[in-house]
């Protein structure tokens, strides 16, 4: 019997193949976009974890010298006192134009480093003598190894698949040669097993600071906000996809009510039917979900390289650009498909299960029953309110997202009522009978299109919001770059000695030489980069201060005060007038706060003299050079020739800005891609809604046609109606998008990155998006309109036929 019922149920899909395709595509799109984002996140997180595990990052306490490198003598003092510490020398360097992190570890004293253990356990372990003695060996991921092999002047390269991208692992003895930092140690890892009876570290090397493992820079924490952003977008796409599913399933159920009534009349219980339908839906969900996984996999593969570049550029987080099909997110994707489909179908299923055996209500009744009355708009208002309350009462990134989610969902729920209101106003003021009919017909169609229009609203608002955010950011960032990159040339010498020589040579020919010197300090808030500046008009005139006390620069230059960046200010709630504890000895009042969009870490600026007191011996290899802009190229070439500097060692302002902008643009590639995809999905939702509405359109259209309107005209009206609805939705989406943009700029960005950006408006973008929306609506309505145009009169006449 069950087989017979299933056959009966499935026969529906055979007759409605387009509906089946729509349902499957809806599930696939929802699952696909969600899975793509999850896959990207999972891959990135796995990369961090792999890197952290392989390189034992953030697992042990460390010793650092706030004043610069640690000498071998100090290392020996600790060792001879019994402390089991492992020396690490690391620095990011440029090899063949590529920025690569070199990590040199003492492979003898620290053979337990997992990356080293992996190598010695490999099938073809290298000869230890090769690794430990000159010239040594470089270990790199396969991709980097290929790149390095093509470079000259490097030690031989060995491949280790477990290493993060853009990282060279090598023995510390090789690293100090490669980085030209002979006898220097960046940090000492305090190994887990220590002998008994150790003297206190402070008694041996008082100048070293112990950094707890927990307070070390954690890529996962750092990039959390980025991934949360992506997840939010994935969820939005998922929701938009579910709108399609909801619409299709609802219609399919409505169309099958007759069949189901018949089946029940034939003695099949409602529960049997509900279970079978659940089974049917689950199968469809798995089918669609599987297709979605494939889609997601390829999508993720296409997007990951840019995400990886962003994460590396923005956070220095090691992410490889290759995606692996991981069972974890694959299963999660299928579960989402299943859960989403059942969620989207639940309403229809419940209604179906409560359907009285003899009810005559048809498809139209089902349509109109959705989204009418006061429940939906009230729910919408409630959701918005909850979002606002959560934001106000809890705060933080997640609350920021709940505000945004509340706004979006609430607005979506309000949309049908709003549109209905607008339409009835138009209807009232229209005298022309055809126009009147169009408005009234539009209103009648509204329930069936509501979900698609909601999806469109969400997509549009997200587009406007994110677009405004990115464009505002770009504008601010460009302006900030202009303020920040004021020197005509940026120069990196090979060492301090050469730096001095270059300074001496340059001094008579240029307006100013601005040394760029910094040291990384361990601060309770995370790593703190302390910069030194010389007194120069360049800073006084251009430095982008967002808050300042009196005589900012005079006080800073006198060594009396410190400037901090916005990230640090917001994170620690430090503002002019507060004190910043730089290290044990130095605490300075804050004179000003400057905007800083280069990275999410904390920064502070003191006078050069102060920097030398706080951290003696900070290297002085980098300079900004102020000179006549026309002469910059010539000077750059002269410098390269005279001091035998590489191209990367002398960079002109324009190139520096271009590099920075390139990183910036990469950051938002994914966002834009997801934006466009979401809009596409919304357009598809409209198409499917129109197609599913098609069967109910004929009884609406046929009488009008019979009364003397041509099919061509009716087809044009179909296009017009779709465009009008989309246009109205777009107009409603605009303020919503702007509120969203404001939330992103003023709440989410502050929480995620630590900077608040001014909001700019881009009406030209809105016009473009508006036209794009109309286009999408027209394309979506094109197929139904074309069908109508080509419809044989016989099909319309059938509506009037007596014998049906």
């Amino acid at each position: 019997m069950t087989v017979a019922i299933i056959q009966a149920l499935l026969s529906h899909w055979r007759r409605h193949r387009l509906q089946l395709a729509t349902l499957l595509i809806g599930i696939a799109l929802a699952t696909g976009l969600w899975s793509a984002v999850q896959a990207i996140n999972a891959e990135a997180r796995a990369s961090y974890q792999r890197a952290n595990e392989q390189l034992a990052l953030g697992q042990h306490d460390e010793l650092r010298n706030p004043a610069g490198p640690i000498t071998i003598d100090r290392y020996l003092s600790l060792r001879r006192a019994g402390w089991q510490v492992a020396a690490v020398l690391e620095e990011t360097t440029r090899i063949g134009g590529r920025s690569i992190r070199v990590m040199g570890v003492d492979m003898v004293a620290y053979p337990a480093l997992p990356a080293v253990t992996r190598i010695e356990q490999s099938a073809t372990p290298p000869n230890p003598a090769d690794i430990l003695t000159s010239p040594g060996r470089l270990l790199a991921s396969p991709e980097l190894a290929r790149f390095l092999s093509s470079q000259t002047g490097l030690p031989p390269v060995l491949t280790s698949p477990d290493l993060p991208p853009d990282l060279i692992l090598t023995d510390i003895g090789v690293a100090e040669v490669l980085l030209d930092r002979k006898g220097q140690i960046s940090r000492l890892i305090i190994l887990p097993d220590q002998p008994r009876a150790l003297p206190a570290i402070a008694a041996i090397t008082p100048e070293l600071e112990r950094v707890e493992a927990s307070s070390q820079l954690d890529t996962a924490q750092l990039t959390n906000s980025f991934h949360l952003n992506l997840s939010a977008f994935g969820l939005l796409s998922f929701a938009v996809g579910l709108f399609i599913v909801h619409g299709t399933v609802g219609l399919a159920f409505a169309q099958r009510r007759g069949m189901i009534r018949t089946l029940r009349a034939l003695g099949i219980s409602m529960w049997q039917l509900v279970w079978l339908i659940l089974l049917e839906l689950s199968l469809l969900a798995l089918f669609g979900g599987f297709a979605g996984l494939m889609l997601g996999y390829f999508l993720a593969g296409a997007l990951l390289p840019d995400v990886a570049a962003t994460l590396r550029g923005l956070y220095g987080a090691p992410v490889s650009g290759e995606i692996a099909l991981q069972p974890k997110w694959a299963l999660a994707g299928l579960a989402m498909a299943l859960g989403g489909t059942l969620l989207a179908s639940g309403h229809a299923l419940i209604r179906l299960s409560h359907m009285p055996l003899l009810s005559g209500a048809g498809v139209q009744a089902w349509r109109t029953a959705a989204f009418n009355g006061f429940t939906t708009p009230l729910l919408g208002l409630l959701v918005i309110l909850v979002g606002i309350i959560v934001q106000l009462s809890i705060g933080g990134l997640v609350a920021g997202f709940s505000l945004v989610a509340g706004l979006l969902l609430g607005a979506a729920l309000l949309l049908p009522s709003l549109l209905s209101l607008v339409i009835s106003v138009f209807q009232r003021f229209t005298k022309d009978p055809i126009a009147q009919w169009i408005w009234s017909d539009m209103r009648a169609q509204l329930p069936g299109l509501s979900l698609a229009l909601m999806a469109l609203l969400l997509a549009l608002a997200a587009n406007i919001g994110v677009g405004t955010m990115v464009s505002s950011f770009r504008l601010t960032f460009t302006g900030w770059l202009d303020q920040r990159l004021t020197s005509e040339l940026y120069l990196t010498a090979e060492d301090d000695q050469q730096g001095r020589e270059i300074s001496d040579w340059l001094a008579p020919q240029v307006n100013a030489i601005l040394p760029i010197r910094s040291v990384e300090l361990a601060h309770p808030s995370g790593p703190l980069f302390l910069y030194g500046v010389v007194d120069d008009q360049t800073y006084r005139q251009h430095w982008p201060l967002i808050a300042s006390g009196a005589d900012v620069w005079d006080r800073v230059n006198a060594g009396e005060a410190v400037l901090i960046n916005e990230q640090l200010a917001r994170r620690q709630d430090l503002w002019p007038g507060d004190d910043l504890k730089i290290n044990r000895e130095y605490t300075l009042p804050i004179a000003g706060v400057y905007s800083d969009y280069g990275n999410p870490t904390g920064q502070a600026i003191v006078s050069m003299t102060r920097l030398d007191q706080i951290a003696p011996g900070v290297e002085a290899r980098r300079f900004g050079i102020r000179t006549r802009p026309e002469g910059a190229t010539e000077l750059a070439n002269a410098l390269r020739d005279r001091f035998d500097l590489s191209r990367q060692a002398v960079i002109q302002q324009a190139a520096m800005k271009a590099q920075s902008m390139a990183v910036f643009e990469k950051t938002f590639v994914v966002t834009s891609a997801l934006n466009v995809l979401t809009l596409g999905v919304a357009g598809f939702a409209i198409l499917t809604s129109l197609l599913t509405l098609w069967t109910q359109r004929l009884p609406q259209i046929a009488p009008v046609w019979a009364l003397g309107l041509t099919r061509a005209r009716l087809a044009r009206f179909e296009l017009l109606r779709s465009a009008l609805l989309a246009a109205m939705t777009a107009i409603i989406a605009l303020p919503l998008g702007l509120v969203l943009a404001w939330s992103l700029l003023a709440i989410i960005n502050v929480e995620a990155f630590g900077w608040r950006l001014p909001m700019y408006l881009f009406p030209a973008d809105w016009v473009r998006l508006f036209l794009l929306t109309l286009l999408a609506a027209l394309i979506a309505a094109a197929l139904p309109a074309l069908r109508l145009l080509r419809l044989p009169p016989a099909d319309l006449l059938r509506v009037f036929a007596n014998e049906r």
């Binding site: 071998i72 290392y75 020996l76 060792r79 001879r80 006192a81 019994g82 089991q84 003492d106 003898v108 004293a109 053979p111 080293v116 253990t117 190598i119 010695e120 356990q121 372990p125 000869n127 230890p128 003598a129 430990l132 003695t133 000159s134 040594g136 023995d171 510390i172 003895g173 090789v174 100090e176 002979k182 006898g183 097993d193 220590q194 002998p195 008994r196 009876a197």
Partner: protein, 346 residues
């Protein structure tokens, strides 16, 4: 045997096991390293220091001690040197690698620790005058080799001991040229077996004052074993009558190779050729999943010596990067006394 290849650097320090012959040409040529020659004239204190042109070298001290509680204890303090290349250079890229092993054995427990370092930066090394051998905070040092202070620490144990030589250095084999196989592989090998030891053991629950006897072995070579030799059993025995015996058996696939040195109470030595001494395991114990002979019969028929050598505890397994058994033994039979036993390759 699952010897991790990386450990090979350190494995070079010990006589390699059977499959080691494939590695780094151990069974073959010495790759630019010096080879021990018969008739070598030792020069002190210089020869107490390192010999970078030889592949391997060690400063190996064991001591049988008695605590204030009357219980027997044993300690080990070893510094191994292994050279990747026959030279020393300054800095991290020094080809000289160092490994320290320290252990305390009680009648029911065995504590051990290990340290690794490279030469060139001063984290480990040996100087001849004043004498100091060290790795990290572990050290064996004094004005000269006859008067030393010895210290080492692990996570939960340690010791601080004073050593005073009560007799002369003794030379094994042919005046310090110690042959290790029928094929002629050899090492330079001398000992100071006459240390009086006094000091403190730090055990997890208490410190114990101890006294006893110590035995220092000095050995260096570049090619210590024949290709087919898979491990060894090495005995340093101090009899109650003041005589001492150093004896070892190198276990080969084709045949075993034995050698021994009888040392009289005043330091006179008699080298005994291959085959003059017999070793037969009487009892094995399962330690760390391996079957280890922990009671031996050692006979020297020519000298009327027939003794049973029993481990103080079978637990004296050194689960270091390169594993072996090293622990104190008691002697009974024709002679009584105490000593140390080292077994590798099980």
């Amino acid at each position: 045997m699952n010897v991790k290849p990386w450990l090979l650097i350190l494995a070079l320090l010990l006589p390699p096991f059977a499959q080691a012959q494939g590695y780094a040409g151990l069974g073959g040529s010495a790759e630019g390293f010096d080879i021990p020659q018969p008739g070598y004239q030792f020069e002190f204190p210089k020869d107490h220091g390192p010999h970078p042109s030889f592949r391997i070298e060690w400063w190996y001290l064991t001591a049988n001690l008695t605590g204030e509680d009357g219980r027997p204890y044993g300690i080990q303090w070893t510094l191994f040197r292994s050279a990747l290349k026959p030279q020393e250079t300054e800095g991290w890229q020094s080809p000289q690698l160092w490994m320290g092993h320290a252990a305390v054995t009680t009648p029911d427990h065995h504590y051990f620790a290990e340290r690794l370092s490279r030469g060139g930066i001063g984290q480990a090394g040996v100087t001849a005058k004043p004498f100091e051998a060290w790795i990290d905070e572990w050290h064996m040092r004094g004005p000269d080799i006859n008067k030393l202070s010895l210290s080492a620490n692990g996570g939960n144990f340690g010791y601080d001991l004073d050593l005073n030589a009560q007799g002369p250095l003794v030379f094994h084999g042919d005046q310090g040229y110690s042959v290790k196989s029928g094929d002629g592989q050899a090492s330079y090998y001398y000992s100071q077996p006459f240390f009086a030891v006094e000091g403190t053991l730090h055990l997890p629950d208490q410190d114990i004052a101890v006294t006893g006897q110590g035995w220092l072995d000095r050995e260096w070579s570049s090619q210590p074993l024949a290709a087919d030799q898979s491990g060894w059993d090495w005995f340093s025995l101090s009899f109650n009558d003041g005589n001492k015996l150093m004896a070892f058996r190198l276990r080969g696939d084709r045949s075993d190779f034995t050698a021994a040195t009888l040392i009289s109470a005043d330091g006179e030595t008699t080298a005994l050729p291959d085959g003059s001494i017999t070793f037969s395991p009487l009892e094995t114990s399962t330690v760390a999943g391996r079957t280890i002979p922990t009671r031996w019969r050692v006979t020297l028929p020519d000298r009327n010596l027939d003794v049973e050598v029993s481990a103080l505890t079978p637990e004296a397994w050194m689960a270091t990067r390169f594993e072996y058994w090293e622990g104190p033994v008691t002697i009974s039979g024709s002679h009584a006394g105490r000593g140390y036993l080292e077994m590798t390759g099980y």
